[in-house]
Symmetry: C2
Subunit: 339 residues, 2 copies
């Protein structure tokens, strides 16, 4: 059996040649319920997409699910393994990219897992990992066609977090926590957040918060087309609230109005602190223009009107949706290799 580790090192040392000789990267978006992996070329074209459920029973089982997804993605991508430069992974949690370790991921049930070493040994390819939102920001910068060196990327999904690209590089902060606006308290004493805080932005405007707010309104007797679904299922999802809002359901629109106004204030604060060239919305709640992004744009318009200095930083056009759409996870992870 060849020594794969030394082979991997050789790849890493030949950086100058790799992009031409090995134009592909494998991008892996590791989620708490599913793993999405794909082969990506240097132009950001996605050549395969594999989706597998995440086995979170034990860290090693999770690593095996990841390895399966990678293997299948390479096969489906039709790229010769020798043309693959490396494997990039976006992880929902705190990572140490230098050491290639996931320090903590509540979703994956991981604590200090040496992801990089395990995968490099398994595949003989160099491997890089990052926090999933950081990967999303880098993917947007690398493949999103923005060409803006200063960008705030705000990911709206189950979780809410911002990441900043400054002078073409990820701004990590001193603990890798820069941009944690989702866990900044906006309403002291407000609803409980996954982090334990009360009234964090994420607990006001993340996916589960939207569902919960709709449920609370239904329970207090407000009428809505969501009533029937709620009675039938005993709960709602953010997607269902979005669908109802598209049908102009008043309750759903009110839920998105509240959340969108909080998000617009978050964008105001992020712009006034980081002074970016643009703000890009990513994540599952911002895949397309719709009732939520409409409220956010209206909210941003209000802050632009109210704040002279903000007008020197942003225009309404400085806020845009991620160009990467549903491939953002794969592309973000692949950017860790291609950047």
């Amino acid at each position: 059996m060849p020594d794969r580790r030394s082979e991997s090192r050789t790849h890493m040392q030949s950086d100058v040649l790799t992009t031409r000789e090995r134009p592909f990267a494998v991008g892996v978006d590791v989620g708490g319920t599913k793993i999405v992996a794909g082969v990506v070329d240097v132009n950001g074209q996605v050549h395969s997409r594999i989706k597998l459920p995440t086995d979170t029973s034990k860290p090693e089982m999770t690593l095996r699910s990841i390895a399966n997804a990678i293997e299948q993605a390479i096969q489906a991508g039709g790229a010769s393994p020798s043309a693959i430069q490396g494997i990039g992974l976006g992880i929902p949690g705190q990572v140490d990219p230098q050491r290639g370790i996931c320090l903590l991921s509540v979703n994956l049930n991981w604590h200090n897992v040496a992801v990089k070493d395990w995968l490099e040994q398994r595949f003989g390819l160099s491997c890089a990992l990052e926090n999933d939102v950081s990967a999303g920001a880098l993917g947007e910068y690398r493949y999103g066609g923005a060409a803006n060196a200063d960008m705030v990327y705000l990911s709206l999904g189950t979780g809410i977090a911002a990441r900043v690209i400054h002078e073409g590089r990820l701004y990590r902060g001193s603990h890798g926590l820069a941009g944690e606006i989702g866990h900044t308290i906006f309403v002291p004493g407000g609803p409980r957040c996954s982090c334990g805080g009360l009234g964090c932005l994420e607990a006001l405007a993340g996916g589960p918060a939207l569902a919960r707010n709709a449920e609370t309104r239904l329970q207090s007797g407000q009428t809505s087309c969501l009533q029937e679904t709620f009675v039938r299922q005993g709960r709602l999802s953010a997607e269902q609230v979005f669908e109802a809002a598209r049908l102009e359901d008043a309750l759903a629109l009110q839920v998105l109005e509240e959340a969108g106004m909080h998000l617009a204030y978050a964008i105001n604060v992020l712009a006034m602190t980081f002074d970016p060239q643009e703000v890009v919305l990513g994540g599952g709640l911002a895949l397309e223009e719709g009732p939520l992004t409409e409220v956010i744009r209206r909210g941003l318009h209000y802050w632009l009107e109210q704040t002279p200095i903000l007008r020197e930083i942003l225009t309404p056009e400085s806020l845009r949706l991620s160009a990467l759409q549903r491939d953002a996870g794969i592309l973000g992870a692949a950017a860790l290799i291609h950047i």
Copy 2:
């Protein structure tokens, strides 16, 4: 008459030798009412301090006041002009450090003034300028003994602004406006700010806001030891509010309580966005521990208790006052040469 411009260029080209051969810098803190200039050595020792009134009648007159202060500071500093590496200036406004131009300073009544060229021609020494709060942050980083590469510097005075040192460099943002938390609206529809906004942090917690809040409370009939001064002068200063608070005057303490709580929230937001190693308070309102910093520390303690992620970034000890005290202006400006 020697060609001073080419002499100046020669100095700029001999960067490698300058620190040893020319260990001194002139630091100039250009304010709207006074100019403070001093000669500073590479260790941050201040060898002279000259204070002159600022002539803001015409831009050229302002430049002449600055030149007078520099000349007197050099004479008083006892350093041979040939031992001076350059002149640094902290300017209250927007500057373009690359071109050496002050784009806009309301306080100085300046609009596109070519400060660097004018002074280099006048003195035959290389000249650098920066926004005054940016200079303050760099001064703290260079001479403050912090040795922390990631720092949020929050200046509390007539104006309020934060500046960020990231990996040992000033984080400017894409328009030089990063850290403008003072002009971020904290109370929509609140008191009018110098920027034109309503309810900006500066309009709630800057020096003039403290005085105005005390006046409003007096006018509404609240009793205070400030009553007599207010009746006599028709107005109050922030200093008088501070003095009254030190005497445990209830009105003054309430004014500082309100302002301090807003400032603590600002520190929370700055820490959650920039993820620094420490937060340093500078400016005239934070020269020493007292009633205001006490409220700010209590407020930060509250946010630390409430916000799990903030506890991964800061401890109560991560907040400290600038080590540079009253020389912060001179040292910040000198840091532009010594950094």
